[in-house]
Amino acid sequence: FMQRGLDSQTKKQLEEEEKKIISEEHWYLDVPDLKEKESCIIEERSFLRCEDLVYGRMSFKGFNPEVEKLMIQMNSKCKEEEIEEDDRMEADVSDEEMARRYETLVGTIGKKFLRKRDQRVLKDDDDENEDDEVEEGNTNTRPSKRAKKMFLKPQD
């Protein structure tokens, strides 16, 4: 029940009392906890996990090409699970290429999502890092730490 206008303190007291009543009514075992023996034996009722059974659908001499493809797929999946894969699959793109790509990719995509202010800063940094000889003049004279625009109170 929630009585409107009840103090939060009295509410808390009521809740605590309710909890006490409930927990006293709860039954609990007085017996000390038995030491759980970690059993090292798992019971299993399926033959599939014990023996190495192949997949049940089979097709021979090209009677059903889809099933034949499936046979190769399922049986090689089973073998792979058991044997640790030493040879990795040939990837379309090699690891080195991926690493190179990522280096450049993160930068370019990241730039796209910057705010306009940040983009300008980035451009300044880039230009500074590049040739110092080429100086654009006005546009680059903005200090790198641009002043944060504070809220200007309207003057009365």
Binding site: I42, E44, E51
Partner: protein, 256 residues
Amino acid sequence: MAAESGLAAEALVGQVVLPGDLLLLPAHYDEDAEGERLRLSAGAAPQGRLLCGPGLRRSGAGLLVTKCGLLRHRPAGGGAYWVDSQQKRYVPVKGDHVIGIVTAKAGDVFRLDVGGSEPASLSYLAFEGATKRNRPNVQVGDLIYGQFVVANKDMEPEMVCIDSSGKSSGMGIIGQDGFLFKVSLGLIRKLLAPKCEIIQELSQLYPFELVLGMNGRIWVKAKTVQQTLIIVNILEACEYMTAEQRRQALAKLSGN
């Protein structure tokens, strides 16, 4: 009844065991520190947990045999013991791929007969690419190849035709024609063994398609009715033929 003293499990691998035999495992599984010391000195302890397969039950420190058969052992992956027994009646087990026959459509689920004590249920959404609008075209009397997702002895078994990633991977309605027959469960396991000679020899004969369900049902389809029947007869008979007899029979057939 005095309990028999158990025998070491490793000594009985490959021999006949009877229900009630107690198999003692080597004392690798104690938790005492002394046990650990003993373990290190006694040799390499098996890593991981021991798998106690069908026909065996965990009891105290050992395994109790509940079915008669040959005891098998697999040392890889933490070790596994199980009893290789023969039976004709199938008991649904979770994860098994079986062939079921649709017996009824009840609203959103199909009832399948899988050879167990109860018909299994299969929801129409458990097919690949099935939605509420796009229902699979399943009629009464169709054959379905699926796997069990719930299979206790207290509940009605449930089947699905997709695997955990949502792909059908070969499960679903089995096509038209073909021949369905029943064999014992031990033969199915023999046929599904990795390098089965029977299957290899049969595959040399002529093109055909085969679906094996763990519930003892086999579906065969070949180009002509006669070829289908030949394969059916060989599969039924090869349970009791020796390898020699089988080769003779196949040689006669390929000669024809």
